[in-house]
């Protein structure tokens, strides 16, 4: 119980920090000398996200309680990184990413912590492999982590209503994939927004209020990444609908074998 409370607390703190950070261009109107201040936005936001990652990863790490689960997750991450490679090799419509379904299913089946680790570290490892380490990486990591983490909430919902095994479970999973298809893009754009000088007082108007800036952002989003996100969402739906059941079955077969509470031994 105590552990639960601690986890929820950490989650809330990180969410608060993370979103405050990402939404800061909207929330904090500029003081004067925008030129100096504005330039701090992109790098400070990245820094805040890195700090948030430190917090969550440090806490999530405690779920890696033995070698088995570590090897298990390590291998899953390798597979997912391989899928990310496919993203470049197989010409799906732009934005289509086979990476998310394993993240969602891991979080769904193994809980929020392991889901977060799966998401964040998949992005990290594939960045290492493809040489894609850059200032966007923390944002990608934490968002992908949130994808995995929130999947556990979905599982909780399914458990409450005892929908496990029924068609509605599949529908929910696919819907979840569609939802995150869009949300992932929206959050990544939020991250990128300050780099376009959004915090500088010209992407925004200095005296513009919150809602005006939101409007601008919406326009920017629609113009640039709607198509990307739509195809990602659709892709997720198709993959999840087809592959969830078999993969979940495999995961449940392995759960027993990776079970780390089986250390009963008695010496007579």
């Amino acid at each position: 119980m105590k552990r639960r409370i601690k986890r929820i607390l950490i989650d809330l703190i990180v969410l608060a920090l993370g979103f405050l950070g990402l939404l800061s261009p909207f929330i904090f109107p500029q003081a004067n000398s925008a030129a100096t201040q504005g330039a701090t936005f992109p790098i400070m936001i990245s820094l805040i996200i890195v700090l948030c990652l430190f917090i969550v990863l440090f806490e999530a790490q405690t779920s890696l309680i033995d070698n088995k689960i570590m090897a298990f997750l390590g291998v899953l991450i390798a597979i997912n990184a391989g899928l990310r490679f496919l993203e470049n090799a197989i010409p799906g419509p732009a934005g289509f990413s086979p990476v998310f379904f394993l993240i969602i299913l891991t979080g769904y089946f193994f809980g929020s912590r392991l889901g977060f680790l799966m998401g964040a570290m998949t992005l990290f490892v594939s960045a290492l492999i493809t040489g894609g380490v850059g200032p966007w990486l923390p944002g990608q990591m934490i968002t992908a982590g949130w994808v995995g983490q929130s999947a556990a909430l979905l599982k909780a919902t399914v458990d409450i209503f005892k929908w496990e095994g029924r068609p509605i479970e599949l529908i929910l999973l696919s819907g979840f994939g569609a939802f995150w298809g869009f949300l992932f893009g929206a959050i990544m754009n939020l991250w990128f927004w300050p780099f376009l000088g959004a915090g500088q007082g010209q992407g925004f108007l200095q005296s513009a209020g919150f809602s005006q800036n939101v409007q601008r952002y919406t326009a920017y989003y629609l113009a640039t990444s709607l198509i990307w996100d739509a195809s990602r969402a659709v892709g997720n739906v198709i993959i999840l609908a087809a592959l969830s059941r078999p993969v979940l079955k495999i995961l449940s077969r392995f759960k027993l074998r990776f079970s780390f509470q089986h250390r009963e031994q008695s010496t007579t």
């Binding site: 079955k249 077969r253 250390r263 009963e264 031994q265 010496t267």
Partner: protein
């Protein structure tokens, strides 16, 4: 020394004990071979000695184990790492790092050895084990034998007193396997190790071991000198079979030990049913002057061979000779020059879909094929792929040939290794192809499983189907071959009768042939029949 008292163990979720009340003492500096059928508990026993059982596996254990002063049951595997080095079967799934040097240093890191000492010890072991030319390389870029050496080095870097190896040569070709065994023997005397090794191909180890630990199917154990234990084992290598049959005692542990007088028999030429080159007029598969080029390198030159109805053709050759490439070229998976004909039809004009109607292919790792929930579903998938369907009765009868009729609704991955392989074979032949290609099907199998497989092949041949099989296993091949092709450096070095292949070529001599040269005998059954 290793002292075991009243050891019993049961896996979690299991009702039968793996072993019951085992008592045993193993002297230091000895090499002990663990023998027994698959599933008899060899792996479990070995894992008891370093604490993996029960700390890693779970389960209920009782009794005491003392390994050179440490108690693995109490201390657990992390503390036993410096006493016991453990080498598993598949080198690739043991690598944590991608560079050899880092992999070898791994245990030292875990034991918090100071950096300077780590480098010293790693250098020492690299020199002792002659790994100086590979220690900077990527663990994926070295050969199978070298990989296993790296694993052994990593196990030995903590200077343990005991070295345990669980089927270390299963994934290796014969040359690498023999090298590793000699290597282990040398290390044993060099470092004064106590070695326990589980192995199916007993003949590789017999000349070097001090004792055999034989685990029977009914949870009993026999431990002692090979002369004492070998006579009571069910599954023994051909040389022992021959010796027993000819009343040669003490049992010879290698061909050199076989006393000369017993070898002087009247060589009675046994009629092998496939002596003559029966190049028939309408072969199933006719290959002429096949060549394969890959990135400007000639992998295969002018390969010609035939497979006839109801025949088993064995393809042998050293690693890298091009055997797997040959199979893939025959299937049309890679481009080739030359002609291939299936029952008279030109295969170069057939699509892959058409070819796979007639030819089935079992890859090196049959697990790669299995994905469904039940054996029945696996069969149904293939049928669906080929737009066919069969009645349930037909399917049951079909599965009966494989001994799987009772397992129809079982999850394939829960079955034993041999059963899984047969499931895969059933899954790819359910649409009744005429030929099956198999790539190294006998890796890691015990004698019983190999027998079952041979029976399966013979049954097929009775149904007028053919088998094309790539293998390193000379004994297995000698038992079933109708024709043999030996490929070296991409060329056909030999193509003809098994008798000549397994008698005349030293690298491919079966044990029987080694003992009785110039007789035409290639398997023990040959001798028993004629004396």
């Amino acid at each position: 020394m290793i002292k075991i008292s009243s050891l019993s163990f049961t896996y979690p979720q299991s009702t039968t004990a793996v072993f019951n009340d085992l008592n045993l003492e193993i002297q230091p500096g000895t090499m002990t071979l663990l023998a027994g059928a698959s599933g008899s508990g060899k792996s479990t026993f070995l894992r008891c000695l370093n604490g993996l059982v029960p700390h890693f596996s779970g389960g209920i254990i009782s009794g005491k184990i003392n390994v050179f002063g440490s108690e693995p049951i109490k201390e657990g595997p992390e503390h036993m790492a410096s006493r016991v080095g453990f080498v598993f079967q598949d080198p690739e799934s043991q690598f944590v790092f991608d560079i050899v040097e880092d992999e070898i240093a791994f245990p030292l890191e875990n034991m918090a050895v100071p950096r300077r000492e780590m480098h010293q010890r790693v250098d020492e072991i690299i020199h002792e084990m002659q790994l100086t030319n590979i220690f900077r390389k990527n663990t994926r870029d070295i050969s199978g034998g070298e990989k296993q050496k790296v694993v052994i080095a990593s196990a030995l870097v903590c200077q343990p007193q005991v070295l345990i190896l669980d089927e270390p040569t299963s994934q290796l070709d014969p040359v690498a396997a023999n090298e590793i065994i000699k290597y282990i023997v040398k290390l044993k005397s060099q470092l004064n190790l106590t070695v326990l090794i589980a192995e199916h191909r007993l003949e590789r180890l017999l000349p070097y071991i001090d004792n055999i630990l034989y685990l029977t199917q009914d949870q009993k154990m026999v431990y002692g000198h090979p002369q004492k234990v070998l006579p009571i084992m069910d599954q023994v290598p051909p040389i022992i079979d021959i010796a027993k049959g000819l009343d040669v005692f003490p049992l010879p542990l290698s061909a050199e030990d076989f006393p000369d007088e017993k070898k002087r028999f009247q060589p009675v030429e046994k009629e092998h049913p496939h002596d003559e080159n029966k190049d028939s007029l309408d072969p199933f598969l006719d290959v002429n002057n096949l060549s394969v080029n890959l990135s400007d390198q000639k992998i295969l030159h002018n390969i010609s061979m035939q497979v006839n109805k109801g025949e088993i053709l064995i393809i042998m050759g050293p690693n890298g000779a091009g055997k797997t490439t040959l199979l893939r070229a025959l299937m049309g998976l890679i481009p080739s020059n030359g002609s291939r004909h299936f029952m008279g039809d030109d295969m170069t004009k057939m699509t892959l879909t058409q070819i796979i109607q007639h030819i089935a292919y079992l890859p090196q790792n049959p697990n790669d094929l299995l994905f469904a929930d039940t054996i029945l579903d696996e069969l149904k998938t293939t049928l669906k792929n080929h737009n066919k369907s069969l009645s349930p009765e037909t399917i049951s009868a079909f599965l009966k040939h494989f001994g799987l009729a009772d397992f129809q609704h079982r999850y394939p991955r829960e079955l034993s290794g041999g059963e899984r392989q047969r499931t895969a074979i059933a899954a790819i032949t359910v649409h009744n192809p005429k030929i099956i290609f198999l790539d190294e099907p006998t890796r890691g199998m015990d004698y019983k499983a190999k027998e079952t497989l041979s029976d399966l092949f013979h049954e097929w041949c009775r149904q007028d189907k053919s088998v094309l099989l790539v293998t390193h296993d000379v004994e297995f091949a000698a038992n079933i071959a109708d024709r043999v092709a030996i490929i070296e450096h991409g060329k056909v070095k030999f193509y003809g009768s098994p008798k000549r292949a397994f008698q005349c070529y030293p690298a491919y001599q079966s044990q029987t042939a080694k003992l009785f040269p110039n007789t035409g005998w290639i398997i023990p059954e040959d001798i028993v029949l004629t004396t």
